[in-house]
């Protein structure tokens, strides 16, 4: 409990500071890219958001597998909360991408492999959340969602490769091993750190909320059962 309180006290200010540092690093410290100019600076948020989204999807997978194995409610809560955050970060990626694309590619949207696969992965996890909220009764939701969480994650690489196969000639994303200036790399690392701190804070808060929600639901059921008698 004490350790928890320490994290509670330290994490929020840390996120604030690191976010300010990330802003400074991306907007002030990092040198302006020669070809794309200031537009390129959105990259410092785009890439960490994308990685964070995939971290979340991986957490959904872990939570789902562990829930099916152990049936502990906390694994299910992890899967649910991570899915919500994954959709949130995915949305950041899908918004920042087109914002950058408009001045660089001339259009907001192109059916470019990585854009397309992000969109498909995003819609899979939106469907996952819809099942959780609309589809299943409270008793069976965790189990059905867990099966879905496993399928969804295994599907992500398949989506990635198939979309690559589909539109290889449309590939416009920088490929691996792009030479980044050292300053750019430092700025990117600061942004990564800020996003991961933000992710852990949001996840922690959301998990606590989910726990309380579950307790409230149990209480409500108990009250309803009491009224029946």
């Amino acid at each position: 409990m004490k350790k928890n309180a320490l994290v509670d006290n330290v994490l929020p200010p840390l996120v604030c500071i690191s976010m300010l540092m990330a802003l400074a690093a991306a907007l002030l410290y990092a040198p302006t890219e020669k070809v794309m100019g200031d537009t390129q600076r959105i990259f410092y948020f785009h890439v960490p958001a994308a990685i964070s989204a995939f971290v979340c999807f991986f957490l959904v997978f872990i939570g789902s597998v562990q829930y099916l194995r152990t049936r502990y409610a906390h694994w299910d809560r992890l899967a649910l909360c991570a899915a919500e955050l994954g959709v949130l970060f995915g949305l950041i990626v899908l918004v920042t991408g087109p914002l950058w694309a408009k001045p660089i590619w001339g259009v907001y949207w192109r059916w470019e492999p990585r854009l397309t696969s992000m969109l498909i992965a995003f819609s899979i996890y939106v469907a996952y959340l819809m099942v959780r909220t609309h589809g299943a009764s409270a008793g069976q939701a965790p189990r059905l969602a867990a099966v879905l969480g496993v399928m969804a994650f295994i599907n992500v690489p398949l989506v990635y490769y198939s979309v690559d196969l589909w539109a290889a000639d449309q590939q416009l994303h920088p490929q691996r091993n792009v030479g980044l200036e050292p300053e750019m790399r430092y700025a990117l690392w600061v942004c990564f750190a800020a996003f991961f701190l933000l992710l852990s804070l949001l996840l922690k808060r959301r998990l606590e909320l989910a726990k309380v929600e579950e307790a409230v639901e149990k209480m409500r059921q108990r009250v309803a059962a009491g009224m029946d008698h």
């Binding site: 469907a127 819809m130 589809g135 299943a136 189990r143 059905l144 099966v147 969804a152 589909w166």
Partner: protein
């Protein structure tokens, strides 16, 4: 299902004003859209009898691996889907002025592989959604993004076959379909018992 997919072909015909000329651009997409929609209709029904008669419990009580139930359902869905495709194909050829030729043989291969992918993933999701509220609505929402990798390769491979290109260009798509089918059958066999457990 067969009649429905014919209707889908008709709808596309009117919404795009297709003629024979458009065959190679959008023909494969039209064909597979019709199949996917028909497949969704069939999948929605595939656990309906068990649900209405509460006979799933009896199935679950049967001694033996639950993967067998999945495989049985999957093969049934596959057979139905293939039947629909065989009904649909002559009409597709008719509407698009397609004359029969050697390409039919590889096309059949693509159809079998693609249908295996659709029913492999579809059967598991049908089982998952069979106990949900709003199942008719949720099944397409779940299934459509999931089958996207298979669908992409189905459409591409069908396009190549209709263009009489059977060589190196076709191979990666067939490989993709085979990998997808194997991955989803394996995963489903592992996960099916969790999907239908009472």
């Amino acid at each position: 299902m067969g009649f429905f997919s014919l209707l889908v072909l008709l709808v596309f015909n009117f919404s795009f004003e297709l003629g024979g000329a458009a065959l190679h651009e959008i023909g494969p997409g039209v064909l597979w859209s019709a199949f996917v929609f028909a497949c969704l209709l069939g999948l929605n029904r595939s656990f309906a009898d068990e649900r209405e008669n509460h006979s799933l419990d009896a199935l679950l009580m049967a001694p033996g691996d639950r993967g067998a139930i999945y495989l049985g359902k999957m093969i049934a869905n596959l057979v139905f889907l293939l039947a629909v495709e065989l009904i649909c194909l002559p009409f597709f050829a008719l509407f698009f002025n397609l004359s029969p030729g050697f390409f039919l043989l590889p096309l059949l291969g693509v159809l079998v592989l693609g249908s295996a992918c659709l029913s492999a993933a579809g059967t598991l999701f049908a089982a998952l959604s069979s106990t949900m509220r709003l199942r008719e609505l949720l099944l397409p929402l779940l299934l459509l993004p999931m089958i996207m990798p298979a669908l992409i390769s189905c459409v591409k491979a069908t396009g190549l076959v209709l263009d009489n290109q059977f060589g190196a260009a076709l191979y990666p798509h067939l490989k993709m379909l085979a990998v997808y089918a194997i991955v989803f059958v394996t995963l489903s066999l592992m996960l099916f018992e969790y999907a239908i457990e009472e």
